[in-house]
């Protein structure tokens, strides 16, 4: 194939002596390399390395009965609200007007501080995404609960009052 014949003519055999032809044992590997790399290319394109993982999510059961609903002590509650354009807001206790602006980096400190300053059995985080929040944000916040080992947290629909405050805060901060 891609080589130049270097074997000289004849040998040093005398006349009349039959020349035994020496066959090379060298095998041309080029097609095999081609094939190997073709298969590698195929496997790279058609398979995946990353195995997806599963994140557990347990939702509270809807109940009309007020007595069955989980009571939350206002002093131990931290409400995190998710808005548009990755906006994040929170307030402590039960007064939504104390709304504060934060982001996905600083929320960890907020959660840890609150966790330290409240009794473990009272501490609960309430997560309220509004209609503008996206799925990535929700997962990020749920993940933050796992990261900070928050035992009690719940994903709850946002109330109209809170949503209004959230939108007002967004407007005040010029978030489009």
């Amino acid at each position: 194939m891609a080589d130049i014949d270097v074997s000289g003519g004849g040998g040093k055999k005398g006349p009349g002596v039959k020349k035994a032809k020496k066959l090379s044992t060298r095998v041309d590997m080029t097609p095999m390399v081609d094939l190997g790399f073709l298969l590698i290319t195929f496997f790279i394109f058609s398979t995946t390395m990353a195995q997806p993982t599963a994140m557990q999510l347990i939702m509270p059961k809807d109940t009309e009965n007020l007595e069955e609903q989980t009571k939350v002590k206002a002093s131990g509650a931290l409400t995190i609200m998710l808005g548009k354009s990755d906006g994040l807001y929170y307030y402590e206790g039960d007064d939504p007007t104390k709304i504060q602006n934060t982001n996905y980096k600083d929320i960890r400190e907020v959660v840890i501080n609150k966790k330290k300053s409240t009794k473990p059995e009272d501490f609960v985080v309430v997560i309220k995404p509004n209609d503008e929040a996206n799925y990535k944000n929700v997962v990020a916040i749920l993940d933050e609960m796992t990261i900070n080992e928050v035992k009690k947290y719940a994903l709850v629909p946002i109330s109209p009052v809170e949503n209004e405050l959230l939108v007002a805060t967004e407007k005040a901060n010029n978030i489009q």
Partner: protein
């Protein structure tokens, strides 16, 4: 004068080592990877610190793409067949046996009940090219997904089934909430969200406790 002798050198390159390397890499790819499953839509899911593997058997998966289109996927063809029969009866879709067979062979579906017969009458190649509108989940009643989940629940009754939700990072939350609502109305409250693994940030409580587990395992 002596003639200068031109030495002819061989251009033969020994490919053996090359073959060794290429097949080594090939073996690695065969062993370390998995074939990509057939996806109705491309979904870029977010990452989380969860390290649990997604179960492969007995799973009912709801896929949501970034436009909010909802698809259902079931791994077991038998379950698909039984769900198709159920839905056909309860929703009076008038599917022919051939349609049901087409449904059994389709890995995922995202059309309203009204458009199902039309989609299933196409041949598989055509089906792939159709842009499916998604299962309607308009509000918190769960829409048509409610009936899907209800039938899946009765089909898998007695088995341990995993409810998987795979949504795109950019999906708006209301769609996800409506999907969750469709499950909740069927008394299903435990879900697995499909995510990409990401290590816990250094210094956080989770990181600390994971380190401790590793230390204990190493020390003992």
């Amino acid at each position: 004068m002596a003639k200068a002798k031109i030495v002819r050198k061989s251009t033969w390159v020994d490919m053996t080592a090359f073959v060794d390397v290429s097949f080594l890499i090939l073996t690695f790819f065969i062993l370390a990877t998995k074939f990509k499953p057939v996806e109705p839509v491309e979904v870029k899911f977010p990452s989380s610190v969860s390290a649990d593997k997604v179960p492969e058997m007995d799973a009912f998966m709801v896929t949501i793409d970034k436009d909010g289109r909802v698809f259902v996927q079931m791994d077991d063809p038998k379950a698909r067949e039984s769900i198709a029969n159920n839905l056909n009866e309860t929703r009076q879709m008038g599917l022919s046996p051939a349609n049901i067979k087409a449904f059994t062979n389709a890995p995922s579906l995202g059309v309203p009940f009204a458009g199902m017969k039309e989609l299933l009458s196409m041949d598989p190649e055509q089906q792939k090219n159709v842009r499916q509108p998604g299962i309607p989940v308009p509000d918190s009643t769960g829409g048509e997904l409610y009936f899907w989940v209800r039938d899946a629940k009765s089909t898998y009754a007695g088995k341990k089934i995993t409810w998987l939700i795979k949504a795109d990072s950019e999906t708006k939350f209301p769609v996800v909430r409506n999907v969750l609502e469709a499950f909740k109305r069927n008394d299903i409250n435990k879900f697995q969200l499909v995510t990409k693994f990401q290590d816990a940030p250094v210094g956080t409580p989770l990181w600390n406790s994971r380190e401790e587990i590793i230390k204990k395992a190493g020390g003992g």
